[in-house]
């Protein structure tokens, strides 16, 4: 066990864990950042997605030893209490969820996509999010939400 210093949502967090511990568990269990969800533990569902240096990554597969000096952003750090991020606002406006368990991962992956490509076509959104499962089947609305965010909020 060693102590690790992680930069999460603009703050430096010190945690004690084995080097191989996945970031997901540190977020959820040590830092109470439960917006990152455990869905499969093998990178197949996208529920644990966080941003690392602005890129969407599966936190269930990221050992904390790999995160030195990298900027981690979770859903909790995406917006202030009053003002939603435009992608969050678009998901809310389109009600692009049912149970909502996949939503933090979907939103963060969409944020990463839109920061890279301001106006992705529908097919690009589909491909980019295809590793994310919404078991409730709200896919059509999620596509609409990402397109709405790309156009600028309602």
């Amino acid at each position: 066990m060693a102590q690790w210093s992680l930069e999460i949502n603009g703050k430096t967090e010190k945690v004690v864990a084995e080097a191989a511990t996945a970031l997901l568990w540190v977020l959820r269990e040590d830092l109470q950042l439960t917006g990152a969800k455990y869905g499969c533990g093998e990178g197949s569902c996208g529920a644990c997605t966080v941003l690392v240096d602005g890129k969407a990554e599966r936190s269930c597969l990221l050992p904390i030893s790999s995160l030195k000096g990298r900027k981690i952003q979770t859903i909790e750090g995406l917006s202030s209490a009053e003002k939603l991020h435009p992608v969050q606002k678009a998901f809310l406006d389109e009600e692009a969820f049912q149970c909502g368990f996949c939503t933090p991962g979907m939103i963060l992956a969409s944020v990463a996509l839109l920061s890279k490509t301001a106006k992705p076509g529908r097919e690009a959104v589909r491909q980019s999010l295809n590793g994310h499962v919404c078991r409730c089947g709200s896919y059509p609305r999620i596509l609409a939400a990402v397109e709405l965010a790309a156009r600028g909020a309602k």
């Binding site: 864990a17 084995e18 511990t21 568990w25 959820r28 269990e29 109470q32 950042l33 439960t34 917006g35 990152a36 969800k37 455990y38 869905g39 499969c40 533990g41 093998e42 197949s44 569902c45 529920a47 979770t74 859903i75 909790e76 995406l78 917006s79 209490a81 939603l84 969050q88 606002k89 998901f91 809310l92 009600e95 969820f97 049912q98 149970c99 909502g100 368990f101 996949c102 939503t103 933090p104 939103i107 959104v125 589909r126 491909q127 999010l129 295809n130 590793g131 994310h132 499962v133 919404c134 078991r135 409730c136 089947g137 709200s138 896919y139 059509p140 609305r141 999620i142 596509l143």
Partner: protein, 630 residues
């Protein structure tokens, strides 16, 4: 009050052990608890007289509190029931607070299953709200809140990641438990050894470790050496091992449906058809694997979990431990959905047993693999249909037998004068249970495939054939409106309909078949469930159910050999993804004068037969087994 305050307030009011109050207060927010709902936490095994369960209460601060035994799974019950109170009491939805799924404080509204919230709980809540307001029920024609697309009450919490699901509930001071599972589906424990320092909990075949943190428990679990003897999984033979259908008076899903006389019907037939259909076991795969917190205080057991049926789980726990109803409290925390898969208390019972044996409060979280293997599957089954049509293309006889998969939706919507439909119980090597819409997917797949086959046998267009054989005006309207929207005459595709749980459905699909791959191109769906209570949420439910149904229709299937489940992983068990989903056009028919039917389940029942019928239309090949690409 923002949602975080709301959440904290909920924590205080709904859970309120002293320790948790301190934890919550420790975040810097001052919460005044005027009157704690419970005092049993202060006691040992002396259970105080329970405070009466109040459906609706106007709190001193002006909030209206609604208590319901139903649970929010993503189907929208929290918002829907809020609308009911707001409508009947003439207040803003923002002034209503729901306490859901707590067996100590909520009325037992039955499990959150079978699309019963709308037909049963909505009227009960509306009535209670109207009584509380001293008014009569608002007429649907004058609805101001019901009938509107009120946004999801917890929407903001969802998009900000603040919504707490069952697996997010990790109060301080609990031990983490990890089950030690056999590498087989079914096995008996023969021996176990563990190094010193590992806290092992063992009771019969229950084998677990407990530790201070979940990560420590994971590590400790790897140190256990357990020997298991596997049981063989014999391939099922549903027909051979079946029982005769038994009619039970008053059953929700009668196992026998009879009309007229089959021999008479058969004598009227000029063409006959007999076909056999099959459906595979599929898994619910709720995105959230389940987790439970169990605490014993003397003889009082409290369990918190993402159960769909907290009262049923309370009974399971009560029976297992020989307790009274008052000694068990189950509190549901919104799960990352369930689809019928979280109705039994597997994880809750394990957590409670471990807590009792360990003498400590325990949290048990299942892995994805456990979620696949240790819950139950949608039943597999075989369905035999023998039918006859007369010279005009009317179905005159219908002999329908479902082996193993279930009795729901046995009754065809068609005006068939002579029919027998029976459900035969059978044996399966896998543990089977409820699934969204129960056997309605299987029965409607067989029925609507068979009707399509009859249309071909009669040489009549499938739409015309259905309309000719239906008498229900609403279902005919759904078909006609869907066909017009789809362009049935010009487009090639597949169709299916159903009259399920009082809802009328029609679905049309256009698709491409390339070798063994089916690519859906476009779906048109018509849904009529009577008065629409929340159109925005209804559309989400209908489209979501269609998407979920695509999985079981095309590729979902639990695979096993003689000892193990072979695809108990998200990477091996394919569920529908963005790339599978075509544009879906949904037409909702709102009938304010018709009592609303539940809609969380029935829209899953038409996609599989529509696809099978579309494959037939496109290739001439009739596929009779789900999954169609399996």
């Amino acid at each position: 009050m923002d949602s975080k305050q709301q959440y904290l307030r909920d924590c205080v009011e709904r859970l309120a052990t002293r320790r948790e109050v301190v934890q919550v207060l420790g975040t810097g927010l001052i919460v005044v608890v005027v009157e704690p709902l419970h005092s049993w936490q202060e006691e040992d095994d002396v259970i105080s007289a329970k405070r009466p369960v109040l459906r609706i209460e106007v709190a001193p601060d002006g909030w209206v509190v609604l208590r319901t035994g139903k649970v929010e799974l993503g189907q929208g019950s929290r918002t829907l029931l809020t609308q009911c109170v707001a409508e009947e009491m003439g207040i803003a939805p923002a002034k209503v607070r729901l306490v859901m799924g707590d067996t100590d404080t909520c009325p037992d509204d039955g499990g959150t299953w079978a699309s019963m919230t709308t037909p049963e709980t909505v009227p009960a809540v509306r009535k209670a709200a109207a009584e509380a307001a001293g008014s009569t029920l608002h007429e649907p024609s004058a609805w101001k809140v019901l009938g509107q697309s009120v946004p999801a009450i917890d929407g903001r919490d969802i998009v900000t990641g603040r919504k707490k699901y069952a697996s997010d509930w990790m109060p301080a001071g609990l031990l983490a438990a990890k089950m030690i599972r056999p590498p087989f589906y079914k096995a008996t424990l023969e021996s176990v050894s563990a190094p010193d320092g590992v806290r092992v909990v063992k009771d019969g075949d229950l084998l677990a470790v407990v530790a201070n943190t979940p990560r420590e428990a994971e590590v400790q679990a790897t140190k256990i050496i357990a020997m298991w003897k596997p049981s063989q999984l014999t391939p099922p033979n549903f027909k051979r091992d079946s029982e005769m259908p038994v009619f039970v008076e008053g059953a929700r899903y009668p196992a026998i449906v009879k009309r007229g006389d089959l021999a008479t019907g058969d004598a009227l037939a000029v063409k006959r058809l007999k076909s056999e259909y099959a459906v595979a076991n599929i898994a619910h795969v709720p995105l959230e694997p389940r987790a439970s917190v169990a605490r014993w205080q003397g003889k009082k057991l409290t369990v918190e979990s993402g159960s769909q049926a907290p009262f049923l789980v309370r009974n399971e726990l009560k029976q297992h431990f020989g307790l009274t109803e008052r000694q068990v409290r189950v509190r549901a925390i919104d799960p990352g959905s369930g689809y019928g898969g979280k109705q039994r208390g597997e994880c809750e019972l394990e957590a409670a047993r471990i807590a009792k044996l360990a003498g400590a409060d325990v949290r048990l979280a299942w892995s994805r693999e456990e979620e696949f293997e240790r819950a139950y599957f949608r039943p597999a089954g075989v369905i035999e249909v023998a039918s006859g049509i007369d010279a005009s293309g009317k179905i005159v006889s219908w002999d329908f037998h479902n082996f193993n998969s279930g009795a729901s939706s046995l009754t065809p919507p068609y005006a068939i004068p002579h029919l027998y439909c029976g459900f035969h119980k059978s044996k399966s090597p896998l543990r089977e249970g409820s699934y969204r819409s129960l056997a309605a997917v299987a029965n409607n797949f067989a029925r609507e495939s068979h009707v399509d086959e009859l249309a071909a046998l009669a040489g009549i267009d499938p739409l015309e054939f259905r309309l000719k054989n239906l008498s229900d005006a609403r279902l005919k309207e759904a078909l006609e409106r869907g066909a017009a929207k789809f362009g049935w005459k010009q487009s090639k595709g597949g169709m299916a309909c159903n009259l399920e749980k009082d809802a009328r459905l029609a679905l049309f699909v256009e698709l491409d078949v390339v070798k063994t791959q089916v690519k859906l191109k476009r779906i048109v769906c018509v849904f009529d469930c009577g008065a629409i209570l929340n159109p925005g949420n209804l559309r989400n439910q209908v489209e979501g159910a269609i998407v979920q149904g695509m999985g079981g229709a095309l590729f979902e299937k639990v695979q096993h050999d003689s000892e193990r489940i072979l695809n108990a992983k998200m990477s091996k068990y394919r569920v529908p993804r963005f790339s599978d989903v075509p544009p879906i056009e949904t037409i909702l028919i709102d009938r304010r004068d018709v009592k609303p039917a539940g809609a969380g389940e029935s829209p899953i029942t038409t996609i599989a037969p529509a696809i099978a019928n579309g494959i037939f239309a496109s290739t001439g090949k009739r596929l009779r087994s789900l999954p169609l690409m399996g």
